[in-house]
Subunit: 154 residues, 2 copies
Amino acid sequence: MSLKYFKIGDVAETLNTTVRTIRYYEEEGLLLPHRTDGGTRLYSEHHVDRLKAILQLAENGFSLDVIGLIANTREACSTGDEGSKKVTEVIDNAISEIDEKINDLNTLRSDLTISRKLVAKCKGCSNKPSSKGCPECPVNQNLGEIEALNLIWE
Amino acid sequence: MSLKYFKIGDVAETLNTTVRTIRYYEEEGLLLPHRTDGGTRLYSEHHVDRLKAILQLAENGFSLDVIGLIANTREACSTGDEGSKKVTEVIDNAISEIDEKINDLNTLRSDLTISRKLVAKCKGCSNKPSSKGCPECPVNQNLGEIEALNLIWE
DNA sequence: CCTTTATCTAACGTTTACGATAGATACAAT
DNA sequence: ATTGTATCTATCGTAAACGTTAGATAAAGG
């Protein structure tokens, strides 16, 4: 199945990251590729998938320490029932954090969507939404949705 | 309406962050509180809401530079049609990034959910899922879902 | 008014997550 | 065999995002 191996440069390109980043993640114990006799790193598709997940976690604000906790749970699990318990705890925590992030992103998204609609119609009056000037500004005409503008208007 | 003002310590506590972080975000031009004659910073509820959104963006992997682009768009907008165009562009980019993040988090979430189920039943065999040993291990009995285990098993 | 506690500015220190570089070695193609 | 390109280790540098501390001022309570 997994006969094909990739070198670090190809992996970096396909995952849109850098060689240095991949090596750094290895230093931090996040993934361990194979090696040729000469020392060149070889990555299976499996490694690539794992690295992809790691990169996604990193891009979403998880620290490498936390990612390590999530990703390196095999040894912990292999200590028996007690280890397996700890592993599920780590995973549960990660899932809750992910849920929280998804929630935040959803509210931010809808806020920005509303703001976008109003701004798109703005002709450039520099008034705050609450000011009296520029009554024809669509922003002033939609004060009901003004909460969504918190991020946009100072 | 917005008669009540908060001092920086209270804001930090309610938003679960630090005084230093809030001041730093101000240094970076992300929010501008009022001041007493003595110089003490005063935050309206509006400021707090804005800061909350900024913190959420930061926790989700957005750099302060990008957050600044998203949050400080009033001046750009106030330059007329052209400015309003640029602002909507910035917002659109932010929305796409948010969508991508939500997507990533959803796949990570379902991966972890499956992994969690299997690990919870593991009694501590230290074998890789693909190895022959420990045939009674639930992980080995669910190789069909093995892709979800990329992150957990090396 | 006095005292305690919070806030101020300004400066330097720290951690994380890499970037950049040097010099040597490995690999792929001719 | 050679030659160009990629990868290796090791080290130093750096940008972002704060933490920490010092010394001075402000605010709140009695």
